[in-house]
């Protein structure tokens, strides 16, 4: 237990540790400057918004009041746009009424007075083309590095389908720009709720049933703030292959992809000896699914030998299922000469080069009949390669009462033996 030879090393490491204490704790690096968060509010201005059922006020006046407050409290850097639907055409012609959506305030730095005037002049009028409004709102927000948020406020279901707004939401989500649609329903109607929850879950957004002025204002502010607080760079798009040999090679970072039911998606990551691979995968449940499901992430060597796996399963309502894994070459950790694994992948031919580890994502999701299976479900893959950590040696020091007893008894015996030896030597010396 006690290794006296190493005590000097121990002391040195104590000193080193004390020295390290002076250094500030590691923190995440500051993000570099990037484009401002972008949000578009999409307000239903159809005829039904005249109904006065929120604390005695009409739905549109409640929405207008809340919009005013949100515009007042808008964080400085947030770029906000406002789009309305069903606000100009009062007639009965469906083809005209279903094209009725306008942007009344463009996405950009907000002129507060102008935006408020535009909101104040709105009068509930026409049809409810939600699908089209969502499509146009996505266009207004454009493409870029950051997440885009659409906040949809409506009191009625879309009466212009096709396109079905939920399909539109799924299609927008599949386009690659990271787009989130948060929905707010101004009524407790069953059909409206189902449509809005479908839109929200298809894009990873939220649904709120609004029942009071305060709730609407609070929620709107929260959603706009959320865009401001948590907006980040969009994960980069990647398309996994159906085998290891042709799989894309990934550097550390976050990726998105889509995976259908019973599909396998392959990726490759170069891992040098002495490095550790870390990977995690999340699949979003963006449609109606059967209640029991699972997700499997496996790392295999180039020849198909499984190295490690991560798995998670669940049942019931959830937004994402996720799992992860770590792997490092055990031979490299032993500090022996690294023997590269047989990798048929063309990239890893050099003897001193990195091993290519294949990652394969598979799922056991299933859906009731009638649910669309394409495009696949959104998949988020995080890959990291870090220095691997060697297995620790046994501790150099001891602990516990047994240790004390052993040392004390050993000391006592040593003392007794020394004493007796001394007596015996004196006796022998006296005799001579």
């Amino acid at each position: 237990m006690i290794n006296r030879r190493r005590s000097a090393v121990g002391l040195l490491s104590v000193l080193a540790a004390l020295n390290m204490f002076g250094a500030p704790p590691a923190v995440a690096d500051e993000p570099k400057s990037k484009e401002p968060p972008k949000v578009e509010l999409v307000l239903d201005d159809s005829g039904s918004m005249r109904t006065a059922d929120i604390e005695g006020h009409s739905r549109i006046s409640v929405a207008q009041q809340s919009f005013d407050e949100v515009v007042d409290a808008l964080p400085e850097q947030t770029q906000l746009g406002i789009r309305v639907l069903g606000s100009t055409y009062p007639g009965d012609d469906k083809t005209v009424g279903c094209r009725d959506t306008q942007q009344i305030s463009p996405v950009g730095p907000v002129d507060k007075t102008e935006a408020k005037t535009a909101i104040a002049t709105l009068r509930p009028t026409g049809w409810t083309p939600i699908g089209l409004a969502l499509r146009d709102a996505a266009k207004d927000l454009g493409t870029g590095d950051t997440t885009r948020r659409i906040v949809l406020i409506t009191d009625g279901e879309d009466d212009c389908a096709p396109p079905d707004p939920c399909d539109v939401a799924r299609e927008l989500a599949a386009q690659g720009t990271h787009l989130v649609v948060d929905t707010l329903g101004l009524t407790l109607d069953d059909k409206v709720r189902r449509q809005l929850t479908c839109i929200a879950s298809a894009t990873g957004g939220t649904y709120t049933a609004v029942q009071s002025q305060n709730q609407l204002t609070g929620r709107l502010n929260q959603l706009v703030d959320r865009a401001n607080d948590t907006y980040q760079e969009t994960p980069s798009q990647v398309s996994g292959a159906d085998g290891c040999a042709a799989a894309p090679i990934l550097a550390p970072g976050v990726y998105t992809d889509r995976e259908r039911f019973a599909e396998h998606r392959w990726y490759r990551v170069p891992v040098r000896p002495g490095q550790e691979l870390r990977a995690s995968v999340s699949m979003s449940l963006d449609r109606a699914l059967n209640p029991d499901y699972g997700l499997l992430l496996r790392a295999t060597a180039g020849d198909g030998r499984e190295l490690v796996r991560g798995t998670d399963a669940g049942s019931g309502r959830t937004d994402v299922v996720s799992t992860g894994l770590r792997w490092s070459d055990p031979q490299a950790a032993d500090e022996a000469t690294p023997t590269p694994m047989p990798t048929p992948a063309p990239s890893a031919s050099a003897a001193s080069g990195p091993n290519t580890v294949c990652l394969v994502v598979s799922n056991s999701f299933s859906a009731p009949a009638g649910v669309q299976t394409t495009p696949g479900m959104p998949l988020e893959l995080t890959v990291d390669v870090v220095p691997s950590s060697a297995a620790p040696h046994g501790p150099d020091l001891g602990r516990g009462w047994a240790l004390l007893a052993v040392l004390t008894v050993a000391g006592l015996l040593a003392g007794l033996v020394t004493g007796w030896l001394a007596r015996w030597r004196i006796a022998v010396w006296k005799e001579n």
Binding site: A26, Q232, P252, A279, G316, V385, G411
Partner: protein
Amino acid sequence: MRAKRVAALSAAGAVLLLTAGPAAADGSPSPSPSGTVSTAGSSFLTATTVRPGQTAKLSGSTGDYLYWSFAAAAGQTDRVEVTLTLPPASSRHGSATWTVEAFDGLRRRQACTAGAQTVTAATGDTTVSLGCALRQVRSWAESWSGDPLPGTYYLRLSATDLPEQDLGLPIQAELRISARNGDAQPDGASLKAPLSPPVNPGSTLAPDDAAASAAPSAAASAPRPVERAKGWFASLSTRWLWTVGGGVLAAVAGVAGYRLTRHPRRWFSAAR
């Protein structure tokens, strides 16, 4: 006689040293930073960072998935407490099941050692209390194991089962994370890089490029913990105190044993 006194003193000193050691290792609750967080993320990537000791309090909707993240260092044992204020009973249609789940930096599910992780609220309940005590964070684990390691931890609060009509109703959620520090196991081991995943978008490499790039870890990452749960004495583990104490006891016992052989009569007559 004087030698005896010295021996007794040094033995007492050793005992003092030893009792002080384990007591220090038991750890105390970490200092609580002030401030309340009033947001929550809606996915792993957008999780709001909360420090242990801080409170997160916000209003949301019943169907929301609320995400928070915190950094945990080796030796830390974290405890999560959540109090939920449910929507008024008049607007609810049945019982709802609420769950708080914990994940590590690799988004692997982490077990709760204690606490009501899942609670089903009856229609009449106004509040729900959830809790989860996580396992103590280890300083090192084999890469094939799922043991908790230093790095980022994620929390997700959600309704896992509720009537469809009850979606979107207002709730209030309050989250509190408390941390206790202790000796990290295994002793003397450490993880070179905490389990804090990168958050920057990745880039695919060309096949020829793959060998050239040494693939350094991504710059931006989820919250990283401090090196160790405790500052000063983490590396000076209690094993030092036990071992030094044992050495002192052994020396005292050795002197005592030696003296016993020199003047046995004095010892035994004194005992009588």
